[in-house]
């Protein structure tokens, strides 16, 4: 895999940011990105998708772009060219497919109006299975989720899976999860970075006791900690894309990355909310939107607390503690 050079990367980033800040509808977003020549860009450098998802995070944009990442691995198993969306299992926070093979429970990332089928992953005695459910077969209408994060546009779905229309997932589901986790981590970088930018701008401008809040040591140190956390996520994201990783290592790296993404949002948001004072916890500023978006992103494909505990359990039962990064 070749890489985009720095200059090209920067140009792509600017164009992508511009698309997201324009604030188009989901459909327009997809065409705008397609028109950018996105397909060619990721063909040259697959890791360029990080640019896309980071931009989405910064803009707090809502879209189902993540489906494209996941479906790239699942579509080959499925028949026909129906328009599809993915049902993300969030019933169990470890990203494990639903244990009830008859019903897929989870969320979809956007409206099902322009979609024919929902891709459902289930696990049972036949192992992990991938199936499709026609939108027209849904018994209950999807419910928009607005409890904590109000702007995601995500929907809760219960999808009845017909036994006959499932196929064994094989290697495709772990590969899809790893790719999905890399994309989510990139989006998390964007959300956290923008939250920090807002916090830096606010504390640099706002004055008390005759000087900016950001001239007080505890505020400065708090913001530095948030910066260090975000940088740690950036570098790990880059490492998760390394060519030198085997498939197995890439999956381990994506799990580690997902854990860190959740931890970083916890570190960053606690700090950015704090330094904004009352502005941070009210609707008087946008900070709450970063908090809630980061929180629901953590839930997709494995919440960090659950993943960390499972990883600890795996390590204790003999899974090697691989270095994953080598010089």
């Amino acid at each position: 895999m070749t890489l985009l050079d720095d200059e090209t990367r920067m140009a792509v980033r600017e164009s992508v940011n511009e698309i997201f800040t324009r604030g188009t509808g989901v459909g327009d977003l997809r065409s705008a990105i397609r028109d950018l020549g996105w397909r060619e860009i990721v063909d040259i450098d697959a890791s360029a998708s990080s640019i896309l998802f980071e931009a989405q995070g910064r803009a707090l944009a809502a879209s189902s772009l993540l489906d494209d990442v996941v479906l790239e691995h699942l579509d080959p198993l499925l028949d026909g060219n129906a328009r599809r969306t993915v049902l993300y299992p969030v019933d169990l926070s470890d990203g494990e497919p639903s244990r009830d093979q008859a019903v897929g429970k989870g969320i979809v990332l956007g409206p099902v109006d322009n979609v024919d089928e929902i891709v459902v992953v289930t696990r049972g005695d036949r192992g992990v299975m991938i199936g499709t459910v026609k939108v027209s077969d849904l018994k209950a209408a999807p419910v928009t989720l607005t409890a904590f994060d109000r702007g995601s546009g995500w929907l809760a779905v219960h999808a009845p899976v017909e036994a006959g229309r499932s196929v064994a997932a094989g290697d495709a589901w772990p590969a899809a999860i790893a790719a999905g986790r890399r994309a989510i981590a990139a989006e998390m970088v964007g959300v956290c970075q923008q939250a920090l930018n807002v916090a830096v701008a606010h504390t640099s401008a706002r004055e008390q006791y005759g000087r900016p809040l950001a001239s007080f040591q505890s505020v400065r140190h708090t913001l530095s900690e948030a910066h260090a956390a975000i940088e740690s996520l950036r570098v790990l994201l880059e490492a998760a894309w390394a060519d030198s990783l085997s498939d197995h290592e890439a999956r381990s790296a994506a799990t580690v990355l997902k854990i860190r993404a959740g931890d970083v949002q916890a570190i960053v948001m606690r700090r950015t909310v704090q330094v904004l004072g009352a502005m941070g916890m009210t609707l008087e500023s946008d900070m709450h939107r970063f908090v809630t978006r980061a929180a629901v992103l953590d839930q997709l494909l494995g919440g960090y607390r659950q993943l960390a505990e499972e990883l600890g359990c795996d390590l204790l039962s003999g899974v090697p503690a691989s270095r994953l990064v080598a010089i």
Partner: protein
């Protein structure tokens, strides 16, 4: 006797060379290690698995002095076989290659369950300014250091100058062909057993702060040098206080020009942040694996599994960051204030690893006499230095605030 290593390279015995002891040197008509980092690492990995290295895989030593002597012997062995000479210039005892060879060696040691020899830490930090500013000094001192016969102490901090290093007072005045040095240094790592001290001394006025500093190498055996070991709370003499009472130091021992001390220190800091960070990260992964083994079959405190998973994730993250910084340094890019992020990440790993060990091992950590518990106790105390030595956590956060985030300055 000669052996053929994993890649079929013939290792031969040279005639008696060093102090009557035979040396083994990797030899082949064309030494491909300098150009082939992957081969170097693979061959080293295979070699370190050999039982010849077993004496260093477990530690039952009870003093810092014994431990560093033992680890210096490991370094000597690595020298005899050629491994640690890669990455150093040939005219200073090296065999060519780059910083990445050294980094690969430290990593393979950790992967093999071996410690990074203590002498390698000051070596990486202090050889750098020598090589850059005064190669003659490097040519003179590096060979013995690579052999593990000598190691150096970094004489920077003083009783009155810790975080505010630019305020240091240890004076050096010119007298004929010498500098005459008076003052003291404190918290010098490896100071109790070091052969030389690389010191920042004041050659200008006190008011000139960092502009009036020079870097100089002082021989421990010079008249007027007194060393007082300083123990970490574990009881180990990991540090020292060094007193200089009108010590004559030849002018040739200056690293760089007079007044260039601060620039030399800033240069050195890049290696401390990156290479020392990498050495520590590899050791942390090794100790993580040790702790993990000890946790199997043990009744664990609440949350231990999650902490173990998080810690592993933090170690991989630290390694990713360190590797990136090292590659930049190897490429010739300056490592600037962003390296404070590396230090913040390292400190968190050191503290979290050792706090997890303490929590998991419970009463054993506090009261058992076995080697393993003793080692964790000693390391727990030493790990408290991660947020203090080499620039405290507070200083790192201030550097990030000032030079990375560009926040408004703290007013005085």
């Amino acid at each position: 006797m000669p052996y053929t290593n994993a890649s079929g390279r013939y290792v031969r015995r040279l005639p008696l060379t060093h102090k009557g002891k035979p040396s083994l040197v990797i030899s082949s008509p064309t030494d491909t290690y300098p150009q082939d980092l992957g081969l170097f690492a693979r061959d080293l990995r295979a070699r370190l698995a050999d039982a010849a290295f077993d004496p260093w895989r477990h530690d039952d030593l009870h003093t810092a002095e014994d431990r560093i002597a033992h680890e210096a012997a490991l370094l000597g062995r690595l020298y005899d076989e050629g491994w640690n000479r890669y990455g150093w210039p040939e005219d200073a005892g090296g065999l060519g290659g780059t910083l990445l060879h050294r980094a690969a060696m430290y990593d393979e040691l950790s992967e093999a369950g071996l410690p990074v020899p203590g002498p390698c830490m000051p070596l990486e930090t202090l050889a750098a300014p020598m090589l850059k500013f005064s190669p003659d000094i490097a040519r003179k001192l590096l060979p013995a250091a690579l052999r593990g016969k000598q190691w150096w102490g970094q004489g920077f901090s003083e009783p009155e100058s810790g975080s505010d290093l630019a305020s240091l007072r240890c004076r050096a005045r010119i007298d004929g062909d010498d500098y005459v040095v008076s003052g003291q240094k404190l918290w010098t790592s490896f100071g109790a057993t070091a052969s030389h001290y690389v010191c920042l001394v004041r050659t200008g006025t006190q008011e000139s702060r960092h502009r009036g500093l020079s870097m100089i190498v002082i021989d421990r055996e010079a008249r007027g040098v007194t060393v007082r070991p300083v123990a970490i709370a574990s009881g180990l003499n990991e540090l020292a206080e060094v007193f200089f009472d009108e010590v004559r130091v030849p002018k040739e021992n200056l690293i760089g020009e007079q007044g260039q001390g601060w620039a030399a220190a800033m240069y050195l800091l890049q290696f401390e942040r990156s290479v020392y960070g990498w050495q520590s990260a590899g050791s942390a992964l090794r100790r993580f694996r040790d702790l993990r083994s000890q946790m199997v079959g043990r009744r664990l405190p609440d949350g231990a599994l999650g902490r173990l998973g998080m810690l592993y994730a933090d170690i991989v993250t630290l390694r990713a960051r360190n590797a990136q910084t090292l590659r930049r340094l190897d490429h010739g890019d300056p490592v600037g204030p962003e390296a404070s992020v590396d230090k913040v990440l390292l400190a968190r790993v050191e503290i979290d690893l050792h706090d997890l060990a303490r929590d998991v091992l419970g009463a054993d950590f506090l009261m058992s006499d076995d080697d393993s518990s003793r080692a964790w106790r000693e390391e727990w105390w030493y790990s408290r230095s991660a947020t203090v030595l080499g620039g405290s956590s507070e200083v790192q956060r201030t550097i990030i605030a000032d030079h990375v985030l560009g926040l408004p300055k703290e007013s005085s």
